[in-house]
């Protein structure tokens, strides 16, 4: 079942677009980071960390791929055949959640490799080097995990909303705009701590790309995982009694 989900992703051309978009944006981010780095930052682990953060774009792409992996089925009517082959719809959803791990991880690997392929020779050319530090591996690893979690969140959103454009646009707007606005509004009542539990803010607190404050790493990761479970469950409730006409 997971293999079937992977085959679905692989056998349309959409993945090429997603991959190219991810690589282009990660490449620009990495080049921008090195190109604009002041001399005193060259060779610092802080700069290395910023270079690695270029693969954060993989999180966004994985989120969209996760959404589309469900909405495309409704959009093109393939959901009929999917449910005929697997009438237990919860299994379909679980297979999609598991199936998203592979493309999400792949996106992270390729964007990270590209960022390093740009930054390492460039730094060498400038007479510097890519500084290594113990915490860098943990940081990169957390981006990988976050990318996978975003993919799974996308599957949940897709299962709930089902209509492709509203799902993608709505989810992106929520993460980029609504979470910040609502948190700011909550701040007026001294309740901004609630905002820390929103999925986008929790996951950026987990991978370390978020603003100062907010949840600490592991609680933030747990909140992110909780959102995956909640959205998955809502998606399941939505699909299980649904008529496919």
């Amino acid at each position: 079942m997971v293999a079937a989900e992977l085959l679905k992703l692989r056998t349309t051309r959409a993945w090429i677009g997603f991959l190219l978009a991810g690589l282009a944006l990660a490449g620009i981010a990495a080049a921008g980071t090195v190109g604009t780095a002041e001399d005193f930052r060259l060779g610092t682990t802080e700069l290395s960390r910023e270079i690695l953060s270029a693969s954060g774009i993989a999180e966004v792409i994985a989120f969209v791929v996760g959404i589309v992996s469900v909405t495309a089925e409704w959009r093109h009517g393939t959901v009929t055949r999917t449910f005929l082959a697997t009438p237990r719809r919860d299994r379909v959803l679980v297979a999609k959640e598991l199936g998203i791990v592979v493309p999400a991880a792949l996106l992270w690997v390729l964007t990270t490799v590209l960022a390093l392929a740009i930054a390492v020779p460039w730094l060498a050319f400038e007479g510097s080097s890519f500084a290594l530090g113990e915490e860098l591996a943990g940081y990169a690893g957390r981006i990988l995990v976050t990318t996978v979690l975003w993919g799974a969140l996308g599957v949940g959103v897709g299962a709930i909303v089902q209509s492709q454009t509203p799902a993608v646009v709505g989810a992106i707007l929520w993460v980029l705009v609504a979470e910040g606005l609502i948190t700011a509004a909550l701040g007026l009542a001294d309740l901004e701590v609630i905002g820390d539990y929103f999925p986008g803010r929790a996951l950026s607190a987990f991978d370390g790309s978020g603003e100062e404050g907010g949840l600490s790493t592991w609680p933030a990761g747990a909140v992110g995982l909780g959102w995956v479970a909640v959205l998955g469950l809502l998606g399941h409730l939505r699909m299980s009694r649904q008529d496919v006409t």
């Binding site: 679905k8 056998t11 999917t82 009438p87 008529d243 496919v244 006409t245």
Partner: protein, 298 residues
Amino acid sequence: MIEVGRLTKRYGATLAVDDLSFAVAPGTVTGFLGPNGAGKSTTLRAILGLVHPTTGTTTVLGVPYRELDRPLERVGAVLETFDAHPGRSGRNHLRVLATAAGLPTSRVDEVLALVELSGVARRRAKGYSLGMRQRLGLAAALLGDPEVLVLDEPANGLDPQGIRWLRDLLRSLAAEGRTVLVSSHVLAEIAQTVDEVVIIHRGRLVHQATMDEVEAMASGGTRVRAPDAERLGSLLADAGVESRSVGDGRLAVSAAPERVGELAAAHGIVLHELTAERATLEEVFLELTRPGSQEIEA
């Protein structure tokens, strides 16, 4: 083999299927007939577990579709809507299904050959003609070599050659002992293929009969031409057979030609013409699904 028990499906205020019950016996080909909007697709989708009944039950091979183990190897289906991703090739579409069902890829190439689609199998499905799409749907249905087939309007979009091909395919599938439920809004399209018909109208069963019975309903009276039509008419009336003059020495008689011919011979009446009259199957179908006709049959 397929059982629909008091199925009712309501979409908001619309009653799509209304207390419908029928059964399809193993090893038969059953035509599922009704005008557009009669509730055929909803019923078939309920049988396949895609639509949840408001009340009532549907089973295939004795259990609800959702409880079938390895369903594609038990039941194959073609539904009216195109269900392949336009950007995926026909072959990859089937590979996805085969993978989900745990079937070997070799089976994909077998069904592609069976529906005569091997030549375009690696092309993206968006370029497929309506006929190719129907064939791809049939290929998907046959993937698991199922014993039961549920086909919703499979002849739609096929040209006359395609319909002939489909008819031959259905006949050979039935000859292998499979159970086939095939819907259509045109009786003549499937009349030569089916053993039985289930006719629904406005979500209700109006008639379930064998094809022989339907044929019998279609057989009508006799048309006869005689120089002394008037005398023949009164002789028929004496024998309790209705007839009416249709002008020019012709009579329309509501009895079989044998009866009319024998009666004429017994009385030495010369006949110039004696023809059996048959209503077409389409006329029978239209009669059965005429508004109000269900009161007669139900």
